[in-house]
Amino acid sequence: MHVKGRAIATWEWFVESAIRLAGILAIIFVLLIFAFLLRNALPIFRQVPVGNLLGGRFWRPTSEPAQFGMLPLLLGSLYVTLGALLIAVPLGLSCAVFASEVAPARLREVLKPLIELLAAIPSVVYGFLGLLLLGPWLANVLNLPVGQFAALGSLLLALMALPMIVSIAEDAIRAVPVALRHNSLALGATRWQTIIKVVVPAARSGIIAASLLGVGRAIGETMTVLMVTGNAAVIPQGLVGFFRPVRTMTATIAAEMGESAYQSSHYYALFAIGLMLFIITFVTNTLADVLVRRAGGVKT
């Protein structure tokens, strides 16, 4: 019996170690991704000064001499992401408030799954719809020179990010204690005054977290922007820039990695863009995670 007990204990130890290893692998994968991006990006930092990489105004990887200025790509991503946020955050927040505070229960049960569906549609399908249908139509209606432009990408990204923003914002709103609401109502405030003065401010950090995750999601999205934003590596100018073609960081990688020669400067430069994307999303996601936990949206 004692021998059997020891055999069981050994097996238990073995299983627990294997399971713990699976957990630790998640950390290892993040480190591996970072290491491989860094390793393949480093050569370009030796060839081109960092200032010229980040601040350079021209991305001409195949001309002679090649130029690897990422500023147009950075700004392109910024335009598309900013535009997406401007649409998705107000809309998502309104939907979250509507779903948790205003909508009848029946309607909420229909509304939520319908909005969730937006996240299930593959990004390449959004790109397809934008390219063939929405882009040409909008160009016609708004009298634009081309049917592929920054704001079109923003609009589609906003739809893709909407379910996540609604769901996190709704969790944050639900986490606001009922007593707070009752206090406000008891003081003679209307439901709307209670929502806007008490509930939304109390859910603030969750709402900011949702926006941050929206940034991470939008800046990293690839196929849709590749297909609908026109891919012109020019620095967007002012408000009108939203309605002109731009080129994002993700689209550049997707479009050019297939053609770049293995271990050429171009290849390394594309990994450098990947490294930047990784760092940007790492920062926004970590920040958002801290905020979500603070908002009490995640139970541990």
Partner: protein
């Protein structure tokens, strides 16, 4: 008003006659910084029913869970002092916790049958401990269900889901499940608190039957239950064992004013 000073606590804590195989010495238990159990020294008589009573939050359940180390499962718990089972400290590093829990079974507050068939619920423990033979399992299942006085009600539906039984039946099933691993001691943590009076009565009857073969410790907030079923009763207050004596004495002639107040319903 007289303020009672705990001058000689020990005189209110007796040592029961007869065989004693389980006792604690100066047992403390903490949840992080909060001390839930304070310096408990108690000897549990074999083949008797010992009831632990006291207002909620008095530490009686926490104390009970020390006896089969179920508190190990909860993060942040810490134990000091000794729990001696047959003279050996169950908190010593070379205790096999799994083996300990076979010897000291536990019935919980809410019935918690596994979502499996009645048969599989009872066979769960024996199977864990290596019983594979079908006829042997059949025997264990029948014997355990008979001991728990539920055989007649379920013998025709052994392979139906245990979760379809009534609450009272579920709790007797859980008792049968504990008996199937042949423990020496059965801990019951408010086993009737989720049951109606009829089901409660049946469990109490069952406990009295089981007393012939098992040592039973029951935590209850129901003083009538304690006085009906137990031979010894310990009164807990704020993590301390105030008084421990024959049940009759605790309820009819308690030595400590606080015990008197509690059993007469003067506070709680």
């Amino acid at each position: 008003m007289v303020i009672l000073l705990a001058t000689d606590e020990a005189k209110n804590i007796i040592r029961p006659e007869g065989e004693i195989r389980l006792e604690t010495i100066d047992l403390d238990m903490f949840y992080d910084d909060f001390q839930a159990v304070k310096q408990i020294s108690i000897a549990i008589p074999s083949r008797r029913i010992t009831a632990l009573i006291g207002p909620s939050g008095c530490g009686k359940s926490s104390f009970l869970r020390c006896l089969n180390r179920m508190n190990d499962v909860i993060e942040g718990t810490r134990v000091q002092g000794k729990v001696l089972l047959d003279g050996e400290d169950i908190y010593s590093p070379d205790t096999d916790v799994v083996q300990l829990r076979r010897r000291v079974g536990m019935v919980f507050q809410t019935p918690n049958p596994f979502p499996m068939s009645i048969y599989d619920n009872i066979a769960y423990g024996p199977r864990l401990h290596g019983v594979r033979d079908r006829t042997q399992l059949d025997e264990i299942v029948e014997k355990s269900l008979r001991s728990a006085a539920i055989w007649d009600e379920v013998k025709d539906k052994l392979h139906q889901s245990a979760t379809d039984l009534s609450g009272g039946q579920q709790q007797r099933l859980c008792i049968a499940r504990v008996l199937a691993v042949e423990p020496e001691i059965v801990l019951m943590d408010e086993p009737c608190s989720a049951l109606d009076p009829t089901a409660t009565f049946r469990i109490e009857e069952l406990m009295t039957e089981l007393m012939e073969n098992y040592t039973i410790i029951i935590v209850t907030h129901n003083m009538y239950q304690a006085s009906r079923v137990s031979q010894y009763t310990g009164f807990f207050l704020m993590g301390e064992l105030i008084e421990y004596d024959h049940t009759v004495r605790i309820f009819e002639n308690p030595q400590d004013q606080r015990t008197d107040d509690y059993v007469r319903g003067r506070f709680g």
